[in-house]
Every structure is written in C-alpha cells, then in structure tokens.
Symmetry: C2
Amino acid sequence: MKNYIIKDEWNIIEEGFDASLGKISESIFSIGNGKMGQRANFEEQYSGDSFQGSYVAGIYYPDKTRVGWWKNGYPAFSHKVINATNWIGLNIDVNGEALDLGRVNVTEFHRMLNMKEGYLKRTFIAELNTGIRVKITATRFCSIVDKEAGTICYEITPLNLATSLKISVYLDGDVKNEDANYDEKFWIERAKKTFQQGALLTMETKRTGFWLTTAMQYAMQIDGEIIVAKEKQILDEKFVAQEVDVILEPEQTLRIYKYAVNLSSENYPKELMENHAQQILQKIVKKGYDQLKIEQAAAWKNKWEESDVLIEGDIAAQQAIRFNIFQLYQTYTGEDARLNIGPKGFTGEKYGGVTYWDTEAYCLPFYLATANQQVARNLLIYRYKHLEKAYENARMLGFSNGAALYPMVTIDGTECHNEWEITFEELHRNGAIAFAIYNYIRYTGEHSYLEQYGLEVLVGIARFWAQRVSWSAAKQQYMLLGITGPNEYENNVNNNWYTNTIAVWCLKYAREAIIYVKESNPDRYEDIAKKLDFREDELSCWKAIEENMYYPEDQKLGIFLQQDGYLDKEQILVKNLPLSERPLNQKWSWDRILRSCFIKQADVLQGLYFFEERYSDEVIRRNYDFYEARTVHESSLSPCVHAILAAKLGDEKRAYEFYLRTARLDLDDYNNDTEDGLHITSMAGSWMSIVEGFAGLRVRENTLHFKPFIPEGWQSYTFRIRFRNTIFQVKVSKHEISITNQSSEERDVLVHNKHVKVPAYGTFKGELVGCQQIV
Amino acid sequence: MKNYIIKDEWNIIEEGFDASLGKISESIFSIGNGKMGQRANFEEQYSGDSFQGSYVAGIYYPDKTRVGWWKNGYPAFSHKVINATNWIGLNIDVNGEALDLGRVNVTEFHRMLNMKEGYLKRTFIAELNTGIRVKITATRFCSIVDKEAGTICYEITPLNLATSLKISVYLDGDVKNEDANYDEKFWIERAKKTFQQGALLTMETKRTGFWLTTAMQYAMQIDGEIIVAKEKQILDEKFVAQEVDVILEPEQTLRIYKYAVNLSSENYPKELMENHAQQILQKIVKKGYDQLKIEQAAAWKNKWEESDVLIEGDIAAQQAIRFNIFQLYQTYTGEDARLNIGPKGFTGEKYGGVTYWDTEAYCLPFYLATANQQVARNLLIYRYKHLEKAYENARMLGFSNGAALYPMVTIDGTECHNEWEITFEELHRNGAIAFAIYNYIRYTGEHSYLEQYGLEVLVGIARFWAQRVSWSAAKQQYMLLGITGPNEYENNVNNNWYTNTIAVWCLKYAREAIIYVKESNPDRYEDIAKKLDFREDELSCWKAIEENMYYPEDQKLGIFLQQDGYLDKEQILVKNLPLSERPLNQKWSWDRILRSCFIKQADVLQGLYFFEERYSDEVIRRNYDFYEARTVHESSLSPCVHAILAAKLGDEKRAYEFYLRTARLDLDDYNNDTEDGLHITSMAGSWMSIVEGFAGLRVRENTLHFKPFIPEGWQSYTFRIRFRNTIFQVKVSKHEISITNQSSEERDVLVHNKHVKVPAYGTFKGELVGCQQIV
C-alpha cells in the first residue's frame, strides 16, 4: 500500500523523486495506444532500479516452458508478448558527465500522466557533479491517431553555466525479458541503417520470425530556432544511434523532438517494411509534434465523450475510475481481431501479455457499453479464429475431434500455461467464452452473430462438456470431477458448483442456438452441421446431461456448495483471521490455503452474478452472506462481483467498499505488486462496480434496467453508455437520476423496475428512490 | 521391454555390441560398494551415446530448484547426489587412432557382471580403421573390503600387427550432471598433482563445500613382466593424467592396473585428505589387484551366505532375484547412519540419489532379515538425526514447534521436492517412518530402541498428525483434507483411507510408546518429556482423534474407499483398458489419469498389508479384488504388495505373476526407463514377494510364521534369514518345507499356524501343505 500519487481529477501526478518508487511509477505512468505500449522508463540513461518495457501488440515469443516436474499434456512453449526495441532512448552527456537520475542530484521532479489529452510529462532539475544545473522537460505519447507512432519532446535548459552537450538519439534492439525462462534473448538483428537525422533498425524474433522495424527521426531547436548539428553515426550490434554535440548558454533551451514508428510484420510484407516505416515516419515528422499532440488530445476527447465516468464529491474515486478507463483504452481499442487484452496490458511482463478468461468475464461488458459494437465483436471473433486450436488443445488432452477446449492462457490460440491444476482443470474458461457470445447478443441484439461465428464455437464447447462430464453410478447423476474453479484456492475438486452450472448452461445455450439458427437460416445451418459433422442425436445427449447434472448444495444452510465436501472444512470467517496472516498467499504455505475454507474469489457468487435472473434475492443473499464471509479477495477480479451483488442486495456501504478495492488497486499499490505492471483486466471491474453495481444497469429483454443508488460521500456520478445506436448519459445524484437520450427516437428503459420514457434528444428525470418522475 | 540379457544363475551377461542398448547396459552393469558407485561406462573414450555416472555417497549439491509456478513452502534448493570425478578413465591410442567403440568395428563383445564375486568384466575385439585388430579385456570392481577403492585391470592384445600405443590414465573432475537444473557445473578444483605412476585430484562442490580427493596409481605389465614407461604429466583444468607410450608385438598383452581411491571430506579433515588418499592408495596398490579381487570374492561370498535366495527350476527368476539382492547390497551396506538408499542407488541421476519412504516401507524388511541388526538400525537412526529438520519442515508449513514432518525426498533431512501435491500433501511418509520403528522392534525385539531414539521421533510425528487433522462440524468427525496417498494418480483428495489409517495408527503407537517408556525407564521418560516439552494432556487429544476419525468406506461393497468420492468415478477395470493406452503415464494427459479410477499403486492394499492382523481374510479379499482390478502398477513399488496379498489369499498364480513384474523390471527394461538407472528400492520388493509372499514369512509375537507355497514352474527355493541371532535357512520344494536352525538353541516357529520345533543346528521338515512333520 502506497499513498504518493497526488489526487487530481484528470491527471496522475507524482511530486519529488524517490528512486524506491521507480518501478511502481514506471507501471502507473505507462502509455499505450492498443498497438504498442511503453512503461514510464526514462528517455535518458538511468543506473537506478528500473524495469524496461516496450511492447508491440501481436509480437510474441514462444519461450521454452520451465517446469519442475513435467506432466503429460503440458505445452512445450509458453508464448509471451516480449520487450521490444527501445525507441524512447535519448542519452545526454553534460560537459562529459552522463545525465543519469541515479547519479545526479534531482530537485523539482514532477511527473504527470495527462489522461484527458493522453500524454506523459516529466520535469526536473538536475544538479550534476560538475555543478551544472539543467532543467529537463520531457513529454511523450503513443499516438492513438497514428497508431504506429510515438513522439517525444525533450527540453534541456542549463540554468547556471554554459554547457556542452553530447546527445545520442538511439534505437536499441539488444533488449531482454526479465521473465525469460532460460535467460535467453529473443531477438536477432535483421537490418539497420542511419540516415539524415534518423536511423532504422529491423529486429526479428527467434523461432516465431516476427519482424519489427523501428524507425526514428529527430529534430532540434534552440530557443525555437531549428538547428542542424554535425552527426556521428553509431551502428553497433542491434543498436543504431545518431550523436550530436550542442553548446548552450545558460537559460538557452535545446528542444529535441524524437519521432519513432514501430511496424510489425503482422501488418506489412517483410520486404516492404523499411519502405513503409520510412513513409509513415515522414508522414508524422511532417505533421510535427505540435500537430500530433493536438490530434492526440482531440482523439482522447472523443474517447472520453463515450466512456467517461464523472464523479462529483470524491476526487480519489474520480481519479481512479478515469485511470482505469484510460488504461483499458491504452491497452485495447478493438480494431484488430487478432489482438486481445492481457492482465497487465502493455505495462509489464507478468502473465506474459496473454489472454485469460478475464476478457470475456470482465472486460467485455465495459467495451460493449463504451465503444462501438465492432470492438466487443472483435473480442469474440478473436476466439472464433482460435477454434481450430481449441479442437487441437482438446485432442491433446484426450478428447475426440470436435470438442473444443479454449486455452487457459494464450496469444494465438495455443495453450501457454503449465500448472496441471489450472491448465487442465480450470475449465470454466470454456464457459465464459460461450457466455460472452450470449452476453454480446443480449446487449447488441445481433442474433445473426450466431450463424456467422457463434454457433461453431458453441458446438465445440458443448461437445467438450458432453465428453468431460462423467456418470456417477453411485449417485446416478452426471458430474465434473477434477476441477479447479475460478476460486484458485481450491484445486482438483469434484463438482465445483460454478463449473457444473456454467457447463450445463453451455449445453443448453448451444442447443437453443442450434434450434435458432436452424429456423432462422436453414441453409447456413446445413453448412455448419456439415462442416462440424454435427448429428442431431448429440442434442439428446446434451439434454440428458442438462437434466441429470449433479449440483452440490446444502439444504440446511440453503446454499450452493462451492464443491463436494466444502463443509467438511473448518469453517472460520475472514473477520476472525488475524491481519498478520494476510494476504494468505504470502503468509501461508500453499497446502494450508488449499485445505482452508478461505476463498480467493467466490465462484458461487460469480455464478449468481452471471445467472442472477434464475435466483431469488433470498437465495442470492444466503449465498452472498455465506461466501463473502469466507472470501479474502486475493484475486483482483474478486471485489467487483461482490460490489455488484452487494448493491443488488441493497448493501450500499459494502458495495462502495468493494469498489474502492479495485479502483485504486494500482494507484495505491494495494497489493505491493504494481511494479510488475498494472492490473488491466480488473480495471474493467471498477467500471462494472459503478455501472452495474451502483447504477444497477442490466439488459433484460432488449431493454436497459437501472436500480441506482449513490455512495454516501459522492455528490453525483455520471456515465455514458452506448446501447443499440443510442448513447445514453446517466447521471445519479443525491436524490435524482437523470437519463439523457442522445438519439432521435424515444427510448423505453426501466428504473427500479418501472418503465419510463426517455424522449429523443431529451432527458428523463426521476427521484432516486421510487423513481417518481421529476418534471 | 527388452530381452537381450543372457540368462545365467550367477552372472548378468550381454553378448554382442549394440550401441542402442548402451545406456541401458550402463545402468544394469553398474558396480558399487555402498560408499561409491559407478555406471558401466567404458574406461576408454567413447563417442557414442552414453550417460556418465560416478557417485560418492553423501556428497550432494543443492541445485537451485526449477519450477514453473512457485508455491509458498517450496524449498529453494533441491539436493542431489552428483556425478563426481571420473576415476575409471583410461584412453587408448592405437597407432595414432583413438580406441573408441563408437568409431571402430567391434566383434566378440562380451560383458558380464559376476555377482558371485562382485566384478564387471568386458571383452571385445576392435578392428581399427588402420586395420589393426586388438583384443581388450577390462575387469573392474569397487571393493567392498576397502570401501574407498576401485580397481581396474585392462588388457590390450594386438592380434595382427605390431602396435604403438599411447595410453592416458586419468582423473577427470570436469564432469556435469545431465539433470542440472540450470546447466551449471557443480564442482570447482581445489588441488591436483601427479606423482610417479599416479596422480591426485581434489575437487570441491560449490555451495556445500564437500571435498572429494581422488587418487590413482597404475602399473603395467607386458606378458606378465612389469614395465615402467616414460611418463608425460598432464595437468589441465580439473584434470590430471599420466601419458605413456608402449610398443607391442602381435599377441603380446599389455596389462594396465589402475587403482583409485575416492575420499570424502565427510570422513576426513580436509587438510589431511591428500595424505590419507595417498596412504590408502598405497595400501591397495601394495595388496595388488589379484589380492583385492580374492578379497572381493570372499567378502561377497559372506554376503551371499546371509542373503542369497536360491531358486531351482527357473533360471530367469534365479538371475533376477540375485541381481536385485546384489544391487541392493551394492547400494547400501549399513555401516554409516548418515547414508541411505536412493530409488536409483548409484546407477543414475533420476530422483537425485535421495531418500523416499521406499526405505522404510520396502527396504527395511530386506535389511532386517539379511544383515546384522545394526544395518536396519542405522536406517532408523538416519531419520532420528533429521528430527530437527523435520520440526523445521513442519514449521515452514505452518505447524507449531514440536510437530515433525519428514521430507518427501531428502539427503540431509531438508526437503528436496517441489510439487505441491506431493511435497505438501503426500504425508503418509510420516507414517511409514513411524511404522519402521514398530517394524524394527517387532522383528528384533529391541524395545529399548524406543527410549534411545524412537520415542522422540514418534512424538514429533504424532504431534504433526494431531495438528494436521481437521474437525468436520458437518460429520462430527476428524478428517485429513488435501492429501495425496501412495497412489499418486490421485492428488489433493480428502480422507485418503490409507493416510487416515496410518495417521491414527501413529497416534496410538506413540501413545503406547510413551506409556511403555514411562514404565520401563521413568528417568529417561522424564528427560524426553522435558526435552520435548511434552504434556500428558496431549495424549487425550490424540486419543480423541483415534476414537473419532472418519474413514471412507462403502458398506454395500464392503470395501474401504481409497478416498472420499472414489465411487463417483467411472468404474472401468484395467482388463477393459486397451493395451494401446498403457502405460497411462505415457499415453494420457495428467488430468485424465487423475479423474479416472485407475490406480498407480493401491494404497488401501498397502494399508491392509501393513496392518493385516486387524482384518479378516474376507475383508482383505474384497478389497484386493476391488482395487487390484483397477491398479495399473505404474509404480515399481506396486506389484510386491499385490504379490504378498495374493499369496496370503491363496492366489498363487497371481502372486507369481506379480513377482515377475518387479524381479526382472530392469534386466528386461520393462518400463523403458532402465537407461536412467536401476529401480533399486523396488528390488527389495522382489525379495519381499518371495519371502513374505511365497514363503509367507511374518513375525508375530516374537515368533516367525510361515505359510509357504511354491510357484508352479519352480523345483525349490531356498533363502536365509537372520532372526534374533539365529540364521534360518528355509527351503521350500514341491512337497516339503525344511527349516534349518544354525544356532545352538532349539527354536519354535509356526508353519501354517502350527507350532513346530526346529532343533539346534538341525532341521525341521514338514509337508508343504498341512505341515505334517516329515521324519
């Protein structure tokens, strides 16, 4: 837990230089544009503790799996998004001494991430060991307009003495991953060159053969006057630079613009990459830094108009939710169905930049509501494209052709994980992927997605479950044995209630989808059935499983049981667990966690959240009370579901507490792990806590429902959501909810279960409680 | 499965050179003496596929743990017995061409392990590329008299042409482990030197700082005449050699004797190791090869007199059982309580040469019956010496002081294993260690072992179980949750019947041991109680657990259940499993194995074996029939327990089949893994199958019991066992059992539950069935 980020509505601010916070700030102040991302490493050399990270979407390396004890079925390689060519590098020598914040006296250090306009700015005064004082202002951003471009404006002003500077503007491809399993470097050099005020470096990943061409150009001004200095070209192994000498009088300011582009062979033919890189570089150089920055601000303005959540009366909450939204949109923008969202986005190496079920379960609702439909759709199509590999993955584990098991962790559809209890047994991911199709169609109304892409995925998933269940002759019911649920503090259990529930739901939804497509588009149905070799007698098998599935529950307590035998554990409540023993995952040995009743994230509650229409509030409340008391929330994905359920059950105080646990998780380094990177996917949970929790948003039968309340300390909160070509703005204040309809048609919504009309281009206002219309 | 070893009663024989079998033979033809061991690598250089292994007991290296996903509680280091200085090396250049079986034409290759006299002999004719044909005879052994010494007699005879030989007699410390987790080399050089016809090399292990001094001396004869050639000394990094040139006429024979000693700093002060090494070397050089070989044969004769099993009428079985006994005694001889038995002995790197529960559960009975009492006793004291580390190990997992959890895998008492489901959950090892104390006292009658060493261990183990059980409020019974039993094809189960059973047995036995010591030696009891801070109210807690333990069982089937929920699995029998799917551990993914009903080794049966007095034959039969049908025996430790139970239940045919599966496991490379090393600990299972299975040996109430039968194809089998200062020879033939008593007192034994008298220095003979005495 830290508390050094200065609260501000639109900016993330750090004052003063504290090297011990360096890696945390490198994560928090990360910039990105969905296609590339850059940790907040310094441009100039730095001898202090730093975690270098520059990532290009879609470029990965199959690192050889490291494992202590091999289990059959483990993948031999583990794909990871990798640290790529350092394009921000800009070394400064001041009268022969390196400007290095690890070695000079730093004052007036100020760092700011401007979320409104999408840039990072850092200023400081360095007193070098020679006594020279220089003032530095460095601003940079990854353009969300020109998505292959990053730009830096770096200003140096000597304050007290005339200064002779040696400046090296460079690209460095000799980078490594801290998480490399065998200390291997992943890149080899393909080509490099320098040109007038610029250079270019093409690197290739070993094994996968991705090419990355990085081109840079710089320009310099002294006090606004363009200067051109004599250059020295440096071409080293995996490294290119231009070095220039500049002499400054005191108070003169040298401004260096560095323009860089990163092109991936995923998007260009390899033989043309250099050409394209230079063309795109020229285009952005021509636009120039100021114009790029204006366009950046304008583009972010558009993003915020669709996705902002405005909170009045709670600056910490305001800063947090904007930070979460900002980082989500820095990570994924949804134009490219080959890309997805890693739990750390582009802000670190942990979890390998790869995709988990987080995307479907947590991120999808955010993108559905805050971006155009294609964005969420691309997240679905990403999985559709991996269907062949999901078949292969299932085959590897002994399932027959046609059963699809999506990987626990992946970039290109291949399984990248190797812990047997997770890789082979945490199967609920297959359910979340099916649920996302349902959720997408429920939200968008685009039923034709089923016939286009959805049905094939659903059949593969249903076939998997149909093979994975086993028949208990003893109980005369179907079961799922050897399962790890979303609560990873239990491994290899029998009949995880959540997994049994979502498995059967998948079978049922797949069955309904087949019937729907068969009726709505018989020709397409025939094509799919032929392609999948689908026989309708499979449906009766699925139905038999639906009808005869076993679900663990306890009649006396009136709760669903997390798994068989859960009540045999010693039932201790979290409130009785000494604080000194937490977090359990740091204080207890793994076996002790496993055999305790404590829960990382409550998967029964996850199921009640997904399928809440099926259960009465009483059932939800009993389960909520039971499981919440045993949940330690040591997954960043846990609190949001609790926030939403607490809100639904009217426990507004708890709902707000849960919101806070996710929202400022990284800004306050709550779990002491922000230095590894940000918790990108759980950021969507913060948004869900407000919109689905506080405002009670649901989509039921093609209509928006709200059940709003407002946290005690807030004056109001306002958010915008897209829903079927309308943008709604919803404002909840102390006593009032107002819903504005930005479309040309009147819309019907429900507030506290009452139908209300929101006029075209108009606003409905109602009392917060009871929802009497206010005229 | 291979079938290339030639059957012979006393020898293991390979005819013909097949490089593809090289690594398998390197394992099978291993030699050792309990203090060091040597795979059957060639003395001369070899470019073919080879797995080099030379091991010195007690010298280990803490290799940095390799793990994919770290779990709290894992040890940071994993100790392993390591490949040490190559002392057999002897390179031969023939007219400038290396004698290398990978590069020359080899004929008349013959390799023999003479088990009766304890040496390895290899002969072959090599036709070099120059056309020269040389005959080689190489004989070597590790002395079981001079336990630090190994000796080689290497003869070279050119057959067709005069030959100029260059011979390099060397010690090479620049060796590595194939299983090094990070490709690290474990040794650094401390000292080296050469002297007249000899050399010395002292190596030190990194981190652990063990020193190993290896000294060698050679002597040469041509046709029996001693020659001394001009030497060239080679001192390279971690390498010393003496090179000599010798010219031979056709049919002349050069004989090279190489004497080597390996001294460990575990046994000598480091500063004196060189001196001692040279002294011991001189001693064995002075004895000379022929004398050493005579002494070796005599010493092995003594060993065989105590431990041989003679089988008439089945040469394959005869060869197999002798091979098993021979390898056991090459691995462990029991003089040094710091040493123990690794599953691969000194024949490979797999399992790191470290100690598992195999020692207590499988090896102890063999050593109890075939060696003097001190040998088995030292195996127990080994664990006593590790008690402090067992406390520490338990503390690391969150147990309080005074609870002892012995490691799953260890050399010096430190846990060396890192698979959570094994390391943290396969707790039955703690039971086997307590059971070994009981078994030792039952066999030897040495009750005072309890007060000397046993009680402290028992209390530590009992305290562990008392803390590890949990109370199920739902069932109002004690349980053991999160357990892996000996059947490792189930992980993290609740209430493994075997573990629950042995845990309660431990509590009860510890309680009885306390009462016994308190009565028999109150002063000593007071000392122990004080040392352990033992309070007698702990006894009532243990008793409560004994009385209220939950045991899973199925009333309808009348069987104990392997664990909770076992009958929810699909019940398929092994006989219905296609052969193409076996072994499961190679054909199935891990999760599929886990959720199947198939059993690696049946732990319910292990429990019935340990505690058979408690259960009626009917109960044993029902459980045997149920579990045997589901057991795939993919642990080498599995078949022997089945053999013993099958024998007990009168199923003689099956008992014999199970015996065969262990006995020739390595000779026939049954599991395709002999190249990794031999299955040393399961070899004790072969002996158990004959003695406890076929002959039905038990010790009950201080008396030997026999219930013999003879496998169909055998004429007779004869074994010797020590029992309380008597050596009995037991011979079972087609219709008769004869028991010879080699002591000066008449002995009472039971045969088929009838008391019979065996006269002093005399023999009892009875009918095999019914046991009517034959006069």
